[in-house]
Amino acid sequence: MAPQIPGRIAYVNARLLDPVSRLDAPGGLLTEGETIIAMGADLFAGGLPADAEIIDCQGACLAPGLVDMRVQLREPGEEHKETLRSAGEAAVAGGVTSMVCLPNTTPIIDDVAAVEFVARRARKIGLAKVYPYAAATKRMEGQELAEIGMLAEAGALGFTDGTKALRNAQVMRRALAYAATFGVMILQHPEEPSLADGGVMNEGEMASRLGLAGIPPAAEIIMIERDIRLVAITGGRYHVSHVSTGEGVACIRQAKARGLPVTCDTAPPYFALNELAIGNYRTFAKLSPPLRTEMDRQAVVQGLKDGTIDAIASDHAPQDQDSKRLPFAQAECGGVGLETLLAIALELYHNGHLTLLEVIHRLSLAPARLLKLAAGSLQAGQAADFLIFDPEPAWRVNPETFRSKSKNSPFDGRPVQGKVLRTVVDGRTVYLADA
């Protein structure tokens, strides 16, 4: 049954946060059907429209819906960990209205039919909008290029071998060159596999004390440095996913200064946690890339402040209990993140690193622009995808309340601030917090 198309809705008494116009001011927003038709500080100065439904935001923030550019969906293939529906519910509860999923499902998204499957399923569910990345190489084996041109035509927003690095330099070179033919980007999991092989956490004192095999920061830095040289000779559009090391950030900063088409994102664990979160072999803190040192964490924050790091993505990676309740070395990597994305990102605001508008920018407009998605804006004519949130209320992360099927949050038990009150997708309220 198709959802009913809403009429005119006036959102009044809001604190508008629009990264496009850099507006941070009290005002209102008017939607009609699936579209924003007006927005501004003085929008309702002449009185409220008689025919519109009125929603009083009571001073809460109204911002573009979050665009999460790195989410692992487990459907098709591992529906016991997450489905498109459970991820959609988690997304809208977290204020995410668009998310881009990795191709590492079963089957792998490396052909046009798989791209269309994801788009069709997500449309049917009608929660957050879902867009896929497609595999950069066939079967994500890192050898033969996938049909990048046809996959891009079918709607793939970028090309990546997911949680596997494109390890072969020649293949990476050709992938960058070939993708540039069609103006699409290659996303890299920046980790030199031969250096990371066998490692389960960041290499250093902590790993030595725990007796765990380490992954040196150099594994990330070498891969980023190598790729930047390949970008220089191919002109290919290159994006570093979840940068976690200070030197990795520095490499990207230099590449950008040289004018190379290089961008990057990071995820909340890398600016909110360090390797100490592993504590006594806590597998929920086993991530890929691994949590790094406090110095690295601070460098990632600095990268977010100076704009080297373009975007923040949740890096949502659902794992079931059987995958995590294991000796540390055997446990799967990854943490769920859709429902904590905003609250953890707001720490950057509460700690004085970014303004509220900058936090929203990194979570919405910046990734939308990287992906060439018409999102991340409250301008008239845009799809009515936004959230209403209060940045102040304190709460404690409790994964048992998550809508996500998996509960493996590295932020389990963390006191945070900021609450999503309402999420709107295409003009329809798809999430409303309990009063």
Binding site: Q143, Y178, A180, I233
Partner: protein, 316 residues
């Protein structure tokens, strides 16, 4: 065909470096041979007593046959040597092979070799004239000449034409020779290919580079398709045949962007349905692919004629 030609080179190793009048001289003479070949009396004896050896280190049917026929039409003795059947298979080096053949007092050596530069190396060691029948990804001068002859006969001239060379430029000696020839003769050249099939700094070769075939074909007079080599189709340079054809295969829809009287060329052998739509390849209104083969014999006759004459003059 008796007066000294403007083409005074001893060998024909490549197009790069030839002057416009040298190219024109070869094309003018080729024109005469086209007429001769179409007449009933097409056997000549101007090269009687001369020996031409086709030394092919790479498989070839059409180029070898074309040279063989050209030599025989002119009355020369033509011998074909396939590398696998010769002493090369026994480990003889390229230069040893050249010296051996040189000792037999031959007049023209036509050489095809998979390595760029091999034909030139060989030419430095022999007393006869050498024609490059294609070396690696470097040059294939007689192909460029026959392409130019085909265009000139259809369009009346080469200068001012817009030519799009489409496909695997990276590995193509045909593309390189054509780029040199067309630029020398005042045509404008575009190359159209995915970035993985273009050589580095392709724009420095005197061409305009396009990655979108639809843009690259707008307003062109000539569409020159290149053969895609199946051994490169396994995901290394391009993902698949179907994707390649979708974006870089020539079909009626893409051709509609070229000039209404644009000609389609292909050096052969064609992969139908990979780089060119099968019906389009056979469309007599647009495709001059058969004509190229005919021009090939005439061009090679002209080259053999001029080079043997130059050789005789140099000996006196």
């Amino acid at each position: 065909m008796t007066q000294p030609s403007q083409f005074t080179q001893r060998h024909l190793l490549g197009i790069q470096g030839l002057a416009p009048q040298e190219i024109s001289a070869l094309l003018d003479l080729s024109d005469q041979y086209v007429d001769k070949n179409r007449s009933a009396d097409r056997k000549m004896n101007s090269l009687r007593g001369k020996t031409v050896i086709n030394l092919f280190f790479e498989n070839s049917t059409r180029t070898r046959t074309s040279f063989e026929l050209a030599g025989k039409r002119l009355g020369a003795d033509v011998i074909n040597m396939q590398a696998s059947a010769s002493s090369v298979a026994k480990g003889e080096t390229l230069i040893d092979t050249a010296m051996t053949l040189n000792a037999m007092h031959i007049d023209v050596l036509v050489v095809r070799h998979p390595d760029s530069g091999a034909v030139q190396l060989l030419s430095e060691k022999v007393n006869c004239a050498v024609i490059n029948g294609g070396d690696g990804a470097h040059e294939h001068p007689t192909q460029a000449l026959l392409d130019a002859l085909t265009i000139r006969r259809r369009k009346g001239h080469l200068d001012g034409l817009m030519v799009a060379i489409c496909g695997d430029v990276l590995h193509s000696r045909v593309a390189r020779s054509n780029i040199h020839l067309l630029n020398t003769m005042g045509a404008q050249v575009r190359v159209v290919a995915p970035r993985t099939l273009l050589p580095a700094q392709a724009d420095r070769l005197g061409v305009e580079v396009f990655h979108d075939m639809r843009q690259g074909l707008v307003g062109v007079d000539i569409v020159m398709m290149l053969r895609v080599q199946h051994e490169r189709m396994r995901g290394n340079f391009i993902p698949s045949i179907r994707e390649y054809f979708h974006f870089f295969g020539l079909d009626y829809e893409k051709l509609a962007l070229a000039k209404p009287d644009a000609l389609i060329m292909h050096p052969g052998p064609m992969n139908r349905g990979v780089e060119i739509d099968s019906d389009l390849a056979d469309d007599v209104e647009r495709s001059v692919i058969r004509e190229q083969v005919e021009m090939g014999v005439a061009v090679r006759m002209a080259c053999l004629d001029v080079l043997t004459a130059n050789l005789a003059r140099n000996k006196i």
